[in-house]
C-alpha cells in the first residue's frame, strides 16, 4: 500500500471510529465512493477495533511475569490444600495442582497477589466461581470449594487433564466425528447454564 493510500485509510478509520456505529456505513458509503477496496480495508480495521477489547491494553510485563518467573515463590499451603506445582497463569491469577487433606488432586486457582487489595477484582473472582458452583453438569468443570485463606483467595475445582481445544486445532485437523462430539458437549453445557439463567458471553477455543 502506498503512503497516500495508507494515510487515507487511517483518516477514514479515525473519522469513522469517532462516529456512532450506526452512522459509519453511511459515512463510508459517501467517503469511499466506488472504491470497494478502500472501503473493505477501513471496514476490516473498524471491525478489528470493535473486537480488540483489552488487547495489548495491559502491559507486556503482565505476560512477562509468567515467563520470567521460572521459579516463582509460591505458597506451600493454602487452607487445607497442599500446593504441588504451577499449571498455568491467567489474567486474574495462577492455577496450581494441589491436593486436599484427603489426598484428592484439585486445580487450585489463586487470585494474583497484585489484585488481592482490589475489591472489584476479588468480587469478580469469587462471583465467577459461585456461578460455576451453581451448575452441575458433566461438561462443566466442578467447583469444590471457594474461600479465603493464608492471605489469598482461592477456587478449588476438578482437575482436568488433557489438552486444550486451541492446542488440538493448532497441532492438526480434527475428524468430523470429533468436531461433532466436541460441539455437542459444548452445546449441552451451554444449555445447562442457560437453564439456570447464566449466559457465558466469552466462548472461545
Amino acid at each position: 500500500m502506498n503512503p497516500e493510500r495508507l494515510e487515507r485509510v487511517d483518516q477514514l478509520f479515525q473519522s469513522a471510529v469517532d462516529l456512532a456505529p450506526e452512522r459509519r456505513a453511511g459515512f463510508l458509503e459517501a467517503a469511499c465512493g466506488g472504491d470497494v477496496e478502500l472501503r473493505a480495508e477501513v471496514e476490516s480495521l473498524l471491525s478489528a477495533h470493535q473486537d480488540a477489547g483489552d488487547f495489548i491494553e495491559d502491559s507486556a510485563s503482565d505476560v512477562a511475569a509468567s515467563l520470567l518467573e521460572k521459579n516463582p515463590q509460591r505458597p506451600r499451603q493454602v487452607g487445607q490444600y497442599k500446593i504441588e506445582k504451577l499449571l498455568g497463569t491467567g489474567g486474574m491469577g495462577e492455577v496450581y495442582l494441589a491436593t486436599d487433606k484427603m489426598g484428592r488432586r484439585v486445580a487450585m486457582k489463586l487470585l494474583a497477589a497484585r489484585l488481592i487489595k482490589d475489591q472489584q477484582h476479588v468480587a469478580r473472582f469469587l462471583q465467577e466461581a459461585r456461578t460455576v458452583l451453581a451448575l452441575n453438569h458433566p461438561n462443566i468443570v466442578t467447583v469444590y470449594d471457594i474461600g479465603e485463606a493464608d492471605g489469598t483467595y482461592y477456587i478449588a475445582s476438578e482437575l482436568i487433564e488433557g489438552e486444550t481445544l486451541r492446542r488440538s486445532l493448532e497441532t492438526g485437523e480434527l475428524e468430523l466425528g470429533a468436531v461433532l462430539e466436541i460441539s455437542i458437549q459444548v452445546a449441552t453445557a451451554l444449555a445447562a447454564a442457560h437453564e439456570k439463567g447464566i449466559v457465558h458471553r466469552d466462548i472461545k477455543r
Binding site: M1, Q73, R114, R167
Partner: protein, 188 residues
C-alpha cells in the same frame, strides 16, 4: 559507577540534542543493565511480587542516570530506549518459552477462558512482535507507539515527547495500530 552514570547522563543529553550516534552508544549500556536486573529478578525469589516492566526500568534509571542533573525530556528518552530493550528481552524469553517441547504434562485446567498456559501467552507475545515488525514496514511511527506504551509503559505525554508529535496523534496512532495488529494476529 559515578563515572558510568555521568557517561549515560551525558549520552542522553547528546541524543536529545539530535546526536544519533549517542543513541548507538547508549542502547548497549541500558541493555546490559536491564538484562542484569531481569536476570536478577528470575533468580531472586520475591514472594508476592510479579515483574513490572516500569519498576524494572525505573530501577535501571535510578542506577544509571544522575538524577538531579537531568530534565524530564531526557527521562522520556531513557524510557524510550528502555522500551525497545525490554521488547528484546521479553520477546527473547517468550521465544525460548514458546519453543519448549510438549511433554506428557498437564496442559491446562479450565475454569474459564482466562486461564492460559504461559506457553500460549509466550507464543502470543512472539506473534505480536512479528506483527509489530510488519507494521513497522508500512508505518514505523505507529509501531513505535505500541513499543513505547506496551513494552515500555510510557503514557501518551511521554510518548509524544519522544516521537515529537502531539498527544492526539499518539492516541490516534495507538488506536490504528491496535486495530491493525489485532487484525493481523487474527488472520494468522
Amino acid at each position: 559507577m559515578a563515572a558510568f552514570r555521568h557517561e549515560v547522563t551525558e549520552l542522553l543529553r547528546q541524543w536529545k540534542s539530535g546526536d544519533e550516534e549517542a543513541l548507538d552508544k547508549l542502547t548497549p549500556l541500558i541493555y546490559a543493565e536491564l538484562h542484569r536486573l531481569a536476570h536478577q529478578f528470575i533468580s531472586r525469589e520475591r514472594p508476592g511480587h510479579t515483574l513490572q516492566t516500569t519498576a524494572l526500568v525505573n530501577e535501571a534509571y535510578l542506577r544509571l542516570v544522575e538524577q538531579n542533573d537531568v530534565d524530564w525530556e531526557s527521562r522520556a528518552h531513557f524510557f524510550a530506549v528502555s522500551a525497545q530493550v525490554m521488547r528484546h528481552i521479553l520477546v527473547d524469553y517468550a521465544r525460548q518459552h514458546a519453543a519448549v517441547k510438549r511433554g506428557g504434562e498437564i496442559q491446562k485446567v479450565t475454569l474459564d477462558g482466562e486461564v492460559i498456559v504461559s506457553r500460549e501467552r509466550a507464543a502470543e507475545l512472539v506473534a505480536l512482535d512479528e506483527a509489530m515488525q510488519a507494521l513497522h514496514e508500512i508505518h514505523p511511527r505507529r509501531s513505535k507507539v505500541v513499543e513505547l506504551r506496551y513494552f515500555g509503559g510510557l503514557n501518551n505525554k511521554e510518548s509524544s515527547e519522544v516521537l515529537k508529535v502531539s498527544e492526539t496523534t499518539i492516541e490516534r496512532d495507538w488506536r490504528f495500530a491496535k486495530a491493525w495488529l489485532y487484525r493481523e494476529l487474527q488472520a494468522r
